[in-house]
């Protein structure tokens, strides 16, 4: 599952997407008519409200007057529990949801409505479900980062092996989240890229480095890196580091070979009250315009024609090797990887 995306393969897909432009317009009119009838939609989101949720909604409501978007912001567990309970009570209130792993329990509960997003026709195959159950909306590359005030240039790790150097013992941290963006994702990446046995040997040595498990999200761990608490941190999102570095923070994200790339995705809720409006919103969200708003907010967009605001964050324009860890793959293996994490690192 290791692949290096190249500009050539992405370009090919983009051309293919252009070919299907005309029928999409008619379908969009139909969708819009349906959405206007429904008048509104409810989005259950795990994204940052001020940064992306509101700008996206603002633009959408401007573009499609008469369709009002309301949202409920919560972390993925709460979002999933909420939709699952609504579904079981046959009273779905939300129309669509996002997040990475949110999809799986809800799919298992039979609460996801498939919809093949036309705007995502040009997306790389790794970033969408062929049946339309989910489509990626943001890319999240997880990388290590160093505090450049605290670490000499020569000491910056260049490979995963460098993490085993004694100078890092007790001075590394990572977020204690059981997600692809946390230690289980890191472990999966190592096992898949190095092979099962050498991977385990590496992890056992790494465990002896006593990495601090910070029970917070990636951004908090990065902040602790910037503030000097931990000179080297693992599994933070590279765009967070890049944004802070652009503001003058002494931080640099590292391209170790290969980098884990996971992503968030959008899905529709089955039997939701506003199906057309929800579809319209998903189309908008994943269109070039929508993805531009994501990029502008600092996220790494999925749309091949939309570059990230700070260049070099995506595998294709950053020219780094990546392990693309789809939620499906992660969901399949997470129990095993989490167990390794718990056994070796906690």
């Amino acid at each position: 599952m290791v692949l290096a995306l190249t500009r050539r393969s992405l370009g090919g897909i983009a051309v293919a997407a252009l070919g299907s432009r005309f029928p999409a317009l008619a379908a969009e009119d139909e969708l819009l008519a349906g959405a206007r009838r429904e008048g509104q939609l409810v989005w259950y989101t795990t994204l940052v409200v001020g940064q992306i949720v509101r700008p996206l909604i603002e633009r959408f409501e401007q573009k499609y007057p008469g369709v009002k978007v309301s949202f409920v912001a919560a972390p993925w567990q709460e979002t999933a529990l909420r939709i699952a309970n609504e579904g079981r009570a046959s009273q779905p209130r939300g129309d669509l949801f996002d997040g990475g792993i949110t999809f799986y329990p809800l799919h298992a509960a039979g609460l996801v409505e498939p919809y093949v997003v036309r705007a995502a026709a040009g997306y790389p195959a790794d970033f969408k479900d062929p049946g339309g159950l989910w489509t990626a909306n943001i890319i999240q590359p997880s990388s290590p980062a160093v505090n450049t005030d605290a670490v000499r240039r020569a000491d910056i790790p260049k490979t995963y092996e460098d993490l085993l150097h004694p100078r890092w013992k007790g001075r590394m941290a990572w977020p204690d989240t059981p997600s692809a963006g946390g230690p289980p994702g890191f472990i999966g990446n190592i096992l898949m890229s190095m092979g099962q046995e050498p991977g385990m040997a590496f992890l056992e040595k790494l465990a002896k480095q006593q990495i601090a498990n910070v029970p917070s999200n990636q951004r908090v761990v990065l902040d602790q890196n910037i503030s000097g608490q931990y000179p080297l941190v693992l599994q933070i999102y590279n765009y967070h580091a890049a944004i802070s570095a652009a503001q003058g923070a002494p931080v640099e994200w590292l391209k170790l070979d290969p980098t884990i790339v996971s992503f968030g995705s959008l899905s529709l809720v089955k039997n939701s009250p506003h199906p057309n409006a929800a579809r319209l919103f998903v189309e908008f969200s994943l269109s070039e315009e929508g993805q531009g708003i994501y990029a502008n907010a600092g996220y790494v967009p999925v749309h091949p024609n939309v570059p990230s605001k700070i260049p070099g964050l995506r595998p294709d324009d950053g020219k780094y090797a990546a392990t693309i860890l789809s939620p499906g793959l992660f969901n399949e293996r997470q129990a095993e990887w989490t167990a390794i994490y718990r056994r070796l690192f906690t």
Partner: protein
């Protein structure tokens, strides 16, 4: 003189006493018990459904689709067979015990100084308490982590001046956890004990002083003993709360690998799918323990009315004259002000005015920016959230206090169903937020009344969650009122309702005010429940804060949190000033 009384005829003196008949007139019992039974029924309706969910979850297998699986003992088994169980249990008890002591000593000393002495700077203690209660929990812990952390100003200073490589204090340790948890709950102790001490009977202390006791001896042998049932109840309460808390153990202890019993719970609910059953199983065990502890407490404080200090006799608390020790005492208040308020607030301000986290240095001052404040102040939607939050907090605090004053009175007076009520009200103390949320989620979706997604549902959840806190205020408040004050009203012809309204509530005012304030402030910043229960139109400030925080907008959270805390402080201060005046009128001091 005529003989107005015939001597007893039917039963001559010394004759065999008729066999005892334990005949309880049912009607009389019902008449005396209607209030207790009604309150017990309300409490049961509020508390038992979540208990059912808790039990159900603890015995159900975790399912991939977030539904409940078949019956299993797996959660209990993994509880017993947990890694390092002995060590974690020991850590838990040490942590809970020491943190309780820190809160009690710190909050208690402060409360006594403020209420019973002529120490200067009393207002400062209240300001400190109110602001620190109004500051969102995660901000507070984050500030402390930052302050005491490796890169924080304390360790930084030490490194700059003494030893460049040393880390003299590791915050991610048991000691760090104890300190932070202790500081976190000392405002609760302060508020509760200040209500107790305010009502304390000065004569008893004066009698001790007249007998030649020093101030210290008087405090130790009289003041503390008089407040004993209240202190004991409070200590028990804080201890249970600490044993059950998983935020500080996780945020502070986990990076340092200090595992307590709840560390595993924290992890289990973050997993995919979240293992709610495991957290529930722990809560069930805690529930049993709480029942035992409450029973023990009931036995210890059985004669609590002995300690009643609001009697019908002269009631005019007079403050101790500390003399020269006043300045030492004001030092304690200043210390509290610095440690509990100024330092964390400075850290937060620093974070709020920095574009990103950095050590506190002069060299960083040039980076100061108001960007984050601008972002908050220019977002109109925060206004709506703030209004929602205020409505929820005011209604919750009021409803919870009304319920718990009744419950506290019934329990403290050992009325019909009193002990059942006491147990019921205390149960929510051990609910994990997520479990309570899920229970209400399920119930509100089935409820014929459209509750789901409304602010009423959040209020309901808050009332359940914070009843135990209100109960502690009300219960220890009632214990201080001499029962004869109520009996006098009843004999005067007042019904139970009138007695409560005209006698109990006015005398309980200081405790009610403190409890209301506490619940109000804690509701205004509570995060976990609204995350699960808020609908599109019932979002609260804390949801917005959590959203910013969990997505790494540390600076904006700090800015929003500080603005919010300032508003809350203003609101609470006005309210408290009114309540104080009311209480002052009541007690003539």
């Amino acid at each position: 003189m005529s003989s107005p009384a015939r001597n007893i005829s039917e039963e001559p003196l010394g004759a065999a006493i008729p066999p005892l008949r334990w005949h309880v007139p049912v009607l009389a019992w019902l008449r005396r018990g209607w209030l207790g039974l009604t309150v017990a029924a309300i409490m049961a309706a509020l508390v038992l459904p979540p208990v059912w969910t808790l039990l159900h979850a603890s015995f159900s297998a975790t399912q991939q689709d977030l539904s409940y699986g078949g019956f299993t003992l797996e959660h209990y088994r993994s509880l017993v067979q947990g890694r390092n169980l002995g060590n974690a249990a020991l850590n838990s008890v040490i942590f809970a015990l020491l943190a309780t002591i820190v809160s009690l000593v710190f909050g208690g000393v402060l409360a006594w100084l403020v209420e019973r002495t002529d120490v200067p700077l009393k207002g400062l203690a209240y300001v400190t308490t109110i602001i620190s209660l109004g500051t969102p929990y995660i901000l507070y812990v984050t500030a402390w982590l930052y302050l005491l952390g490796r890169a924080g100003p304390f360790n930084d200073l030490y490194r700059n001046w003494i030893d460049a490589d040393a880390v003299p204090f590791n915050v991610n340790s048991l000691a760090g956890m104890v300190l932070i948890e202790g500081f976190l709950w000392s405002p609760l102790v302060f508020l509760m004990l200040s209500a107790t001490f305010r009502a304390a009977n000065a004569e008893m202390e004066e009698a001790a002083r007249m007998s030649g006791a020093s101030i210290a001896q008087t405090v130790w042998r009289i003041s503390i003993r008089l407040a004993w049932p209240a202190i004991l109840a409070l200590a028990l309460f804080v201890f249970i709360r600490n044993l059950e808390s998983f935020e500080v153990p996780a945020l502070v202890g986990m990076p340092g690998r200090v595992d307590v019993l709840t560390t595993e719970i924290y992890r289990s609910i973050k997993e995919m799918p979240p293992r709610l059953g495991y957290a529930s199983a722990y809560s069930v065990v805690m529930l049993l323990m709480v029942a035992v502890l409450l029973f023990a407490y009931g036995r210890i404080s059985r004669h609590a009315e002995r300690y009643a200090s609001i009697t019908g006799k002269g009631y005019r608390p007079r403050p101790f004259r500390l003399g020269r020790a006043r300045w030492l005492a004001s030092g304690v208040i200043l210390f509290n002000f610095l440690i509990v308020l100024v330092l964390p607030l400075c850290a937060l301000l620093w974070v709020a005015f920095m574009p990103f986290m950095r050590p506190m240095r002069w060299s960083a001052v040039k980076f100061l920016t108001t960007k984050q404040f601008d972002a908050v102040l220019s977002s109109p939607h925060y206004l709506g959230l703030g209004v929602n939050t205020l409505i929820i907090a005011v209604c919750t605090a009021t409803a919870a206090m009304v319920l718990t004053v009744l419950a506290g009175w019934l329990a403290a007076r050992r009325q019909v169903a009193g002990s059942v009520i006491d147990q019921l009200v205390t149960v929510p103390l051990v609910f994990p937020g997520l479990v309570l949320g899920v229970a209400l989620l399920e119930l509100s979706l089935q409820s014929p009344v459209p509750l789901y997604g409304t602010i009423w549902l959040i209020m309901l959840a808050f009332v359940i969650r914070y009843m135990p806190y209100g109960m502690r205020y009300a219960y220890s408040g009632v214990l201080q009122i001499h029962p004869e004050l109520e009996q006098a009203a009843a004999v005067s012809g007042a019904t139970t309702g009138t007695t409560l309204r005209r006698v109990v509530v006015p005398l309980l005012w200081p405790a009610i005010a403190s409890g209301w304030l506490f619940i109000f402030l804690i509701c205004a910043k509570e995060m976990s429940l609204p995350l699960l229960l808020a609908g599109p139109d019932s979002q609260t400030i804390s949801v917005a804060m959590f959203d910013l925080w969990s997505n790494g907008q540390g600076g904006e959270v700090a800015a929003l949190g500080l603005i919010w805390a300032a508003l809350m402080t203003l609101f609470a201060s006005v309210f408290y000033a009114i309540m104080r005046r009311h209480a002052a009128k009541t007690f003539g001091h």
